[in-house]
Amino acid sequence: MGATMDGPIHVPQDGDAEALDYTKAAPPEEPVTPPGRWVKENLFSSTSNTIQTVIFGGLLLVLLRFVLNLVFSEENNWAAVATNVRLLMSYNYPAEQYVRIWFTVGALAAAAGLSMAAWQLHPRISVRRIGVNLLGTGGVLIVMGILTPGATPSSIRIGMLVIGAALLVIGAGLLFGTEDPHLKHVSFTAVLLTISGLIIAFLWLFPLGKYLFIDGEAIQEDGTVSATTKGPWTVTILILLASLFVGRAIGKAIGGTRPLRLAMGVWWVIGPAFLIFLVLRDPEFDWDYVLKVDLPLALAFGLGGGALLYALTKPTFADQARAVGAVLMGFAIFNWVAAFFGWYAMLQKVRFSFLALALFALAAPTFAGEKSARLRFAGMWLGLVAVGHWLITGINTPSTLDITAPPFLGGFVLTVSIAYYVMLASFPLGILLALARTSRMPIFRVLSTIYIEFVRGIPLITVLFFFSIMLNLFLPNGMAVSELAAVFTGYTVFSAAYMAENIRGGLQSVRKGQYEASDALGLTGVQRTGLIVLPQALRVSIPNLVGQAIATFKETSLIAIVGGFDLLRIADKTIPAQTAFIGQKRVGLLFICVVYWAFSYSMSRASRNLEVKLGVGQAR
């Protein structure tokens, strides 16, 4: 999947009317207008404009007061959230093993830093924009400080007023103190360093108070955030910065970021699985069994399959490869049928391996070529076997974690994991459905259309209920699936239909000439789809896919209804049931609103930047 991202994408050529202009810079910003003129032009330019200012100004005051009343009402006990942050983030993950969570966070931070370097994320931000943003934030903070209800703690009210005034002064200084602020730019690194410094300073210096839960009793102390929170977060931020600089150094040293991008692409596909199933879950390997059974099995499949695939990718062996692939496929399917009827026992891992090998053998003619290409294909297989076998073994090994309730994932960790894996799992399924729906083969098209329209016509919640209640009903005797896995399956099935529609939009934007050109080159159907059509189609559908990722992330909240302990369930049910915080629903819900908002909003901003960078918006 990492490969599709940097595959040979549309190369701009002379005479190509829709060639993309990568060099196109962001539109120039306008110079700063003096405040008096600005107010007259934007708020009181005509009668209707003045009326709008009055109406919307009043509305703004009413809305702000409403929201502040919600946040700082006398009934709210924000200690309910402050004490339960760990519960909200990771549910009942054992405290002794908590270093695993921090390791995961650190690994993700490192990967994020390296990815920023790999995809050369360093937008230049103009002084004008910073000034305008500071000015706006400061103004809103001061208005909030004045409007906030009497129940607000005085420290917060004064904080709002003081910080707001400070931001106003700094913003005004930047805007009106510097010459031509719209032409001066600040580097991304400087902004990142400043923000990181501010966060670290806030953690270590600001007297937020310590909130602890000891033996079911909520304890509240003065001072800064507890060291078990601020320490790891400081390290995480430092790791992020360090890996960003290391990534840039690597890019400079090898004279390009392509290998790094490939590596990071692969990591983002398989890395999170390792973090979830090997780091967080901590399987207790039975090394004796691993050495006797698992390792030889993996070696046999990896090396034997690799040799077979190396042989089959010989350009003259296309027919043999298809024959071998067909035989293997028959055998693999037969294994599953046999499993259903219980004819003979076989490790699930072996069934999967045979199926994968059959698929690889069928795809071999497409990858046929020179020695290096064949070696790379065999290497891909080897990598897949290594990763797949390790993961399956890890998942099937009992965990060492001492958890009272069965699911080891909960809270925000569960929300993110489910969203991530639903997207990842529905991606290949969505591509297949989209290809089937646009194919010229009628039965495929009808089947795929029925599936997509059917799923899109029903609400997600019924799909989730259906799978969580019914999946075990459909399985033969003796087979069962955990509730979380059932919900995950249902969500994937649902998401794939939407994914297919998004990818279909991309497929339809690929021009006919591309198909004709690849036919003229003598490519096979599979090659044409995989090498010419899909890379272009996926690139066009990136904005829609990010939109779907955001929707998927938001809709994981529905898991709370079908029984998973996600962020919403904890805020809505668990915290209000604690004796110390009976009925404190509102604060929890407001808090998770902020969490969901922060993630969705930053994703949508990132996608907009990506769109501009790829020039996708213009190309369509």
Binding site: I443, V446, L447, P459, P476, E555
Partner: protein, 504 residues
């Protein structure tokens, strides 16, 4: 060269693309059907093991549940309970669609306003609300409504507006006895108005100038409404007509109805195939038909035959059901006319507290939003409005500036340009995604389960927890939501086709 082509060999059958293509497809179809058959038979075995009969007979079982609100809060049968839940779903969906459209249009236009404050407020609203899950918002509204003051009014007290923990209550307008007579008279009066309108339109086209087509029609219509308001008792005569139709309809023998349905299905398929072939006709004769075209035609024929099979063999009761319910419908309509009915078409009422500290839900005591309904309605409306605002903004921005300039060059006024040039084009762009949002509201209304609103999924879940009829219940859910989806997309497609630019 000719020798080479003469020696053109046919590929062996396993490399023949036609054979491969159809082979793979048929194998896939077989695999899908086999998997389905396997899963369903497995489910049936599992259900039989648990002693749960598969079927729909339980719809007539007594329900023994109480719903929070709806047309029937203490339903006799399970089927009635589900129906009540469906009506609740539709209620919240329709109201949500109307409210979110209005709010969304206002916000979308505000985002394009030249007023800085309006623009900022609208964009902050959109960027905040659409990035928070709708379920979280619904729950938050639930908490907010629950924290409203207690209802302290005495029984019988009337006010214009109540907002309390028991819900929010507003004045209500409802149909009174004369409503159907009123509508019927209005339809009759609309005929001459239509002729006047056609006459004015022709005059406008022939002579130009301003003939005030729109305002004259509107004025006449208002006049007709006033006349119909008072004179509607003269429309008592349809009672006899509709009851006569009721009797005649009930007399239709079942076999005749079966025959009629058969003719409709066969004629429909024939008409479709003819239209399809016409579309493939070129000036140079019929275009070459590909596999796919044959497949479509075969599909139409098979579909029609399957329907005929259902009508005659599988479910002969369908015809008598159509006869009975058609007859019932005409009888119901007949009862709405004449007799000793009052003549007032509409009536209104202020919210009234019926007992100490309690409204009677959904009774004629004002229009009450129960806490659950209010939470779901606010959550859905505010969330969807943020998406509709973006759609409206995109639609208006997508109309090229040249259109405005061209309208000005033709001498249209600003208002005319907006009404006749810009908005119709924006509407065309906006319509399909808007339909999608309406679908989303309908589907998201199933989240009412989180605030215990008695919509169809919540009622259904309560019922299958009692009798374990999960499989049948899910099939009902799916059919219900599919019908809703198809209705909405049908309406949207219809409007879309009406608005489509006619090309060559």
């Amino acid at each position: 060269m000719p020798a080479a082509s003469a020696h053109h060999e046919r590929p062996p059958f396993w490399r023949n693309t036609n054979v491969l293509k159809w082979g793979v497809q048929i194998l896939t179809l077989a695999a899908v059907v086999a998997a389905f058959w396997f899963l369903v038979s497995q489910a049936k075995t599992n259900l039989d093991d648990k002693g749960i009969p598969v079927g729909y007979d339980w719809l007539n079982d007594p329900a023994n549940i109480q719903l929070g609100e709806g047309i029937d809060t203490v339903p006799d049968t399970m089927g009635r309970a589900l129906w009540s839940g469906m009506v609740n779903t539709l209620r919240v969906a329709v109201l949500g669609i109307i409210a979110s459209t209005i709010l969304g249009i206002v916000l979308g236009i505000a985002r394009l306003s030249n007023n800085w404050l309006a623009q900022k407020i609208a964009s902050v609203y959109v960027e905040t609300i659409r990035n928070i899950p709708v379920l979280v918002q619904i729950l938050l509204w639930g908490v907010i409504v629950a924290s409203l003051p207690e209802l302290t009014a005495d029984p019988g007290e009337k006010r214009w507006f109540f907002a309390s923990q028991k819900g929010i209550s507003l004045p209500r307008v409802f149909y009174a006895d004369g409503f159907y007579q009123f509508v019927a008279l209005l339809l009759v009066l609309a005929i001459p108005i239509w002729f006047v309108r056609r006459y004015l339109k022709r005059k406008q086209e022939l002579e130009g100038g301003e003939q005030h087509v729109g305002s004259v029609t509107f004025g006449l219509f208002v006049l007709a409404a006033i006349i119909a308001w008072f004179a509607n008792p003269i429309m008592a005569w349809p009672r006899g007509v509709f009851h006569a139709i009721e009797d005649a309809w009930a007399e239709i023998p079942q076999s005749v109805m079966q025959l009629i349905l058969t003719v409709i299905a066969v004629a429909g398929a024939a008409w479709w195939i003819k239209r399809f072939l016409d579309s493939r006709r070129t000036p140079a004769g019929l275009a070459k038909l590909i596999d796919d075209d044959y497949f479509r035609m075969i599909f139409a024929v098979v579909g029609a035959l399957a329907f005929v099979f259902v009508v005659w063999v599988l479910w002969p009761g369908l015809s008598s059901w159509i006869i009975n319910s058609g007859s019932d419908f005409w009888g119901w309509l007949g009862d709405k006319f004449g007799g000793d009915r009052g003549s007032r078409p509409l009536d209104g009422m202020r919210p009234t507290v019926t007992e100490g500290g309690r409204f009677v839900n959904y009774a004629p005591t004002g229009w009450t939003l129960t806490p659950a309904f209010a939470a779901l309605f606010f959550g859905l409306t505010f969330y969807t409005a943020s998406f509709i605002a973006e759609i409206v903004r995109g639609g208006i921005m997508a109309v090229p500036q040249g259109q405005n300039e061209a309208a000005a060059a033709l001498g249209l006024s600003r208002g005319q340009a907006l009404r006749k040039v810009v908005l119709p084009q924006a509407f065309r762009i906006v319509m399909p995604p808007l339909g999608n949002q309406y679908l989303n509201i309908t589907k998201n209304s199933s989240l009412g389960i989180a605030v215990a609103f008695s919509e169809v999924v919540q009622v259904g879940q309560t019922l299958y927890n009692k009798n374990n009829q999960t499989l049948a219940m899910y099939s009902i859910f799916m059919v219900f939501f599919l019908v809703c989806s198809l209705t909405i997309s049908g309406v949207v497609n219809y409007i879309n086709n009406k608005l489509k630019i006619v090309e060559r």
